[in-house]
């Protein structure tokens, strides 16, 4: 059970960090932020890599394959779609200002 204390400590501290990291976000950014957090849990791809390296039978191969495909879709798609969303908040400042003032 002692082996568990170290990971458990990390887990608890990471939860506290997660609470703090986004405590004061404006409503405007809720959707991009959710999408950004969504891409971070694509880190499960790392888990897929580990089980792929250890799989030794056809069932293991299939499970690892699907896990990697799913994880990769989560990571790649998640970051790209978040970036597309955020890109729109950062537009050509010159054109936007000109329109705003006219």
């Amino acid at each position: 059970m002692n082996d568990l204390l170290f990971p458990l400590t990390i887990f608890v501290l990471a939860i506290l960090v997660g609470f703090e990291a986004i405590a004061k976000v404006p409503a405007t950014l809720h959707t991009p932020l959710m999408s950004g957090a969504n891409s971070i849990h694509g880190i499960i791809l790392v888990g897929g890599l580990i089980i792929a390296a250890e799989a030794r039978d056809p069932l293991g191969y299939v499970l690892a394959f699907v896990a990697i495909a799913f994880g990769a879709m989560n990571v790649v798609g998640g970051y790209v779609v978040t970036d597309r969303m955020l890109q729109m908040f950062k537009r050509k400042p010159a054109a936007a200002k000109a329109k705003g003032k006219s």
Binding site: G18, S39, V46, G48, A69, M73, V75, G77, G100
Partner: protein, 478 residues
């Protein structure tokens, strides 16, 4: 320093990038860099893992390489293609889909590990607990997110779906999952003797009931609450990933999973607060479509609806000095954000002051409407948040409501109906109100909007895009 230490440090570095990246996403100015930083951390963490697998004794066999390369190419390619090509209006369901596959991957990782361990010496108690938690949470997220995505896509009715016995079924499934978990844990502790086949069978039962539980959990929830549900399931996936980290004894999975679980939880609460809904109420179900939702309050509909033509609206708009546009989901589905900007520019050129009132849940998700209008190059300063613009409706000549419904319903100020207590835009305080809408159809709350029968209101019955095009033509002709 040996290579495994370096790999460990690289993975921690990746986790640090996630935390900093997420924090930078708190402000519009730094958000994009935050996302890029987080993506950079992801690349580092994944590459470091690959290196550690290659250099460890025994290395990686050819089969593993094939699986990794082909799996990544297919999954990554699909993700890239859909993320690049999705319409911004359909983005919430895509995020839900990505969340589903993430949860599915987390469950699969634990299943594979459990199969291998039971094939060998059997899984220890602690690992068994984390495996079962990972499988159960991951499976619920997988099917739950698919259903949520299907509801937003319109593949499944957005209305709450409740079939006879659905509540009981949900409870039974939860009991089966918990009982299965208890059995496996007792088996791992040696209290009960389970051979490998029985253990796997029990895990199979847990997996199956969790998959069905995901479906029965989300089906009874109305479409309007889907953003909150997606956010909650997002936090679930984070938790499942952290559990997978315990199973594989991998710190970066634990840190990232816990980070997403916690921040996702906070975000869910913020979203629910913005809609004045409690998470518990949402999960128990029943916004619209339930009994009593057609009841109208005193002084409610019963009045007559005044229909108005595009030419009349154009005259009102051009001779107004202050116009507030209230965009809603109807504008988003009709892809009319460019048309609305064109109209606003025409009016500005004629000296009319135009601003946009953005309800926190306008569109499909909090912040969704800001994204859509930003895409159409609407100047950011014209977008005003609800609390900021609400007092200005009193001084506004024309409020132009485009495809927004429940967020403008004055019934929300009275208790006793499905939208009660929801913060609304004070559209009814404007001197004149124009509503562009296809029909008198109801919004997600499933009740009639009293705004439409207000004597000050004129209804322009049209699809948002067609109606705006007519208005643009009429304004130009003046």
């Amino acid at each position: 320093m040996d290579i495994s230490t370096l790999v460990y440090i690289a993975q921690i570095g990746g986790a640090v990038c996630f935390v900093l990246g997420l924090h930078l996403m708190n402000s519009p100015a730094t958000a994009r860099n935050g996302n890029l930083l987080s993506a950079g951390g992801m690349v580092v963490a994944v590459l470091a893992t690959l290196v550690s697998l290659v250099v460890r004794p025994g290395g990686m066999d050819a089969a593993a390489w094939v699986i990794i390369v082909v799996g990544f190419a297919i999954g990554g390619g699909l993700g890239l293609y859909t993320a690049r090509n999705v319409q911004m209006t359909e983005m919430p369901q895509l995020v839900s889909l990505f969340n589903a596959v993430g949860g599915g991957a987390a469950a699969l990782v634990a299943i594979e590990d459990f199969i291998r361990l039971t094939g060998a010496a059997g899984a220890p108690v602690s690992t068994t607990i984390f495996v079962v938690l990972d499988v159960a949470i991951g499976a619920v997220t997988f099917t739950g997110s698919l259903i949520a995505s299907g509801k937003l896509m319109g593949l499944i009715s957005g209305k709450p779906i409740i079939f006879p016995g659905s509540r009981i079924l949900t409870v039974v499934l939860a009991v089966v999952t918990v009982a299965g978990t208890a059995l496996l844990v007792l088996g791992a502790a040696g209290t009960v003797t389970l051979d490998a086949t029985v253990s796997l069978l029990v895990l199979g039962v847990i997996l199956a009931s969790a998959l069905v539980f995901g479906v029965t959990m989300v089906l009874p929830i109305g479409g309007a609450d889907m953003p909150v549900v997606i956010s909650l399931l997002n936090a679930f996936t984070g938790t499942a990933v952290a559990m997978a980290g315990f199973v594989l004894d991998n710190p970066v999975l634990i840190i990232s999973g816990a980070l997403v679980g916690a921040s996702g939880g906070i975000l869910t609460k913020l979203m629910a607060d913005a809609m004045n809904r409690s998470i518990v109420n949402i999960m128990i179900g029943g916004f619209g479509g339930g009994e009593g939702t057609t009841a109208v309050g005193p002084g409610g509909p019963g009045g007559s609806v005044r229909s108005i033509g595009a030419d009349d609206v154009a005259i009102q708009l051009v001779y107004a000095s202050n116009v507030i546009v209230v965009p809603g989901y109807g504008l988003a589905v009709a892809q009319a954000q460019h048309a609305v900007r064109e109209l606003a520019e025409l009016l500005e050129a004629k000296g009319v002051h135009v601003s946009y009132a953005i309800h926190p849940v306008a569109g499909r998700m909090p912040g969704h409407m800001n994204v859509l209008l930003a895409e159409a190059n609407v100047p950011y300063p014209q977008l005003r948040e609800m609390d900021e613009i609400n007092p200005e409706f009193d001084r506004c000549d024309v409020a132009l409501v485009i495809g927004a419904n429940d967020v403008t319903n004055p019934a929300a100020r009275r208790p006793g109906n499905p939208v009660s207590g929801m913060p609304i835009l004070n559209v009814d305080h404007a001197k004149s109100i124009i509503v562009i809408k296809r029909s008198m159809g109801r919004g997600y709350a499933g009740i009639d909007n009293e705004l439409y029968v207000n004597p000050k209101t004129g209804m322009l019955f049209a699809d948002a895009k067609a109606g705006l095009a007519d208005l643009v033509a009429a304004v130009k002709a003046l």
